[in-house]
């Protein structure tokens, strides 16, 4: 933390030193762009999760090559999670691993408006 503190001080000093226009206004657009990109990365990109990226596909091909030690021994590695899944049970049921506790009133309240007995949005009618 020491380095960054020093940097910050330098920044503050340079702010004071600049004459005329306020220095913090400079590069605002760039800062906003960076913040936006950071936010984009933080939000889970489901499409990427499903389809992956081209780079990832290349990596997996390289992994297939087996390493040889001294031209005689093969390095045997335990199967990766992906390979284990390849021979798992073929079943369409979606069993949630993080099941909610439906004994809690709080959980019951979280789905109240899914029912006709819940509150209705304006403009909608229980016709």
């Amino acid at each position: 933390g020491y380095d960054s503190e020093e940097e910050e001080q330098v920044c503050v000093i340079s702010l004071f030193l600049s004459t005329g226009a306020l220095k913090w206004k400079e590069g605002l657009q760039q800062k906003a762009t960076e913040a936006f990109l950071r936010h984009q990365e933080a939000a889970p990109n489901l499409r990427k999760q499903v389809y992956g990226s081209v780079v990832e596909a290349d990596d997996s091909e390289e992994d297939n090559e087996e390493e040889e030690l001294g031209g005689l021994f093969r390095v045997s590695r335990p199967q990766k999670s992906k390979k284990v899944q390849a021979n798992a049970l073929d079943c369409s049921h979606f069993n949630p691993d993080t099941s909610h506790n439906w004994d809690l009133e709080e959980m019951l309240n979280s789905i109240r408006d899914c029912f006709v007995t819940g509150t209705w949005e304006e403009g909608q009618d229980a016709a």
Binding site: R47, Q85, C91, S92, F94, C114, V116, W120
Partner: protein, 372 residues
């Protein structure tokens, strides 16, 4: 691409690979099927599934190596017609039926499939669930009419089986694009509590305990009790419950639970089964969407094969099975969906995040269907 086909590894997702291969006409090769296992190769139930696929198609070529670790499938034409099949009891009829639901509308002649085996087990979607949740999904896409039905003639619990169902499906030349973006509010809950070779009182006990939870939300709940006797009750005892929540806009969300098969693990009390199943339905409602979690891939397939127009469907969180299905759709049909997450508003009490799936159909037309 079409000449040397697609290649995969492992026995997982076997059904979706073979179904998509049949629909796209692309050859598929599956290697390393349980190759590291003590008993390598295809299991009996998988062989049984492949035989069923062979029955509904014409001219399919299937090659399996000696150990059963490599399968090559060259799809033929979907023929349909009247088919009878004894489904291997290692898996329930739902396992086989899920594939037939996807293939049914694209046959040359309307399908009438009589399937025998295990109708209800805890692993796969039961025939009752498919009847009450999968068929309504297909109706949204214009697959309906008198000839569209799933009848449970005999009930057969795991592990013995001895059940029988008849699935009839009309053929369609094209599939209608859909806009299912508004799930609507749940107006009623229906269900079936079934029991065979145990006291008929079991079903009543299940209904009682499930209602005790669901009545906190809705008065309109009706759970039928279905107790089959004699020749219609299969070979093994058991009971279970299927629940379906129906919304004002015609969406169906389902949940189910079956008793532990005889001789496999701890038995479950009907009261616990009823309560747990009701909670599973609440979980499904929390996930939400216009199509429930077990039918996501069916809806996505029909969107893919729709006419060349935009289809939109709102789903709950994607299941791992569905995610893999999307990857397979990309492989076989070169189609990628637009996937958008919809977060609930601050003061909304409608469960968790939803996923909006959008695509333009590939304009699949059923060339197998005879023109009259």
């Amino acid at each position: 691409m079409a000449s040397h086909g697609l290649s995969y590894e492992g026995c997982n997702f076997l059904r979706q690979r073979l179904v998509l291969s049949t629909l796209s006409g692309k050859r598929v090769k599956i290697k390393s099927i349980r190759s590291k296992d003590d008993e390598p190769g295809l299991r009996d139930f998988e062989a049984s599934f492949i035989r069923l696929l062979d029955k509904v198609t014409n001219g399919s070529r299937i090659e399996i190596n000696q150990t059963g670790t490599v399968l090559v499938y060259q799809p033929g034409l979907l023929y349909g017609g009247t088919v009878e099949h004894d489904c291997n009891p290692q898996r329930s009829i739902g396992y086989y039926l899920e594939a037939l639901l996807m293939l049914g509308p694209f046959m040359k002649t309307p399908l009438k499939a009589t399937l025998r085996g295990v109708t209800n087990d805890p692993t796969d979607p039961t025939v009752d669930l498919l009847k009450s949740a999968a068929l309504p999904v297909m109706k949204n896409f214009g697959i309906d009419g008198e000839g569209f039905d799933l009848k449970v003639l005999k009930r057969g619990m795991a592990p013995g089986g001895g059940g029988e169902v008849v699935f009839t499906c009309p053929v369609r030349r094209t599939i209608r694009p859909v806009q299912l973006t508004e799930p609507g509010k749940i107006k009623r809950i229906r269900g079936v509590a079934y029991s065979v070779r145990v006291s008929p009182q079991m079903a009543n006990r299940i209904v009682e305990s499930a209602r005790s939870i669901l009545n906190k939300f809705l008065p309109d709940i009706y759970i039928y009790t279905d107790h089959m006797k004699g020749a219609n009750s299969g070979k093994s005892p058991g009971f279970g419950l299927t629940l379906v929540a129906e919304t004002l806009s015609g969406s169906f969300l389902s949940a189910e639970m079956s008793s532990t098969p005889q001789g496999q693990g701890d038995p479950i009390l009907p009261e616990d089964l009823g309560r747990n199943c009701a909670k599973l339905l609440l979980e499904e409602i929390y996930r939400g969407g216009c199509v429930d979690s077990s039918n996501q891939s069916l809806a996505l397939l029909l969107m893919t094969l729709g006419q060349q127009d935009v289809s939109k469907v709102l789903l709950g969180p994607l299941s791992p099975y569905t995610i893999e299905f999307l990857r397979h759709i990309r492989d076989f049909f070169q189609l990628m969906f637009k996937i958008e997450i919809q977060k609930p508003l601050e003061d909304e009490r409608k469960g968790g995040d939803k996923v909006l799936m959008t695509c333009v159909g590939v304009g699949y037309s059923n060339i197998n269907k005879t023109v009259k």
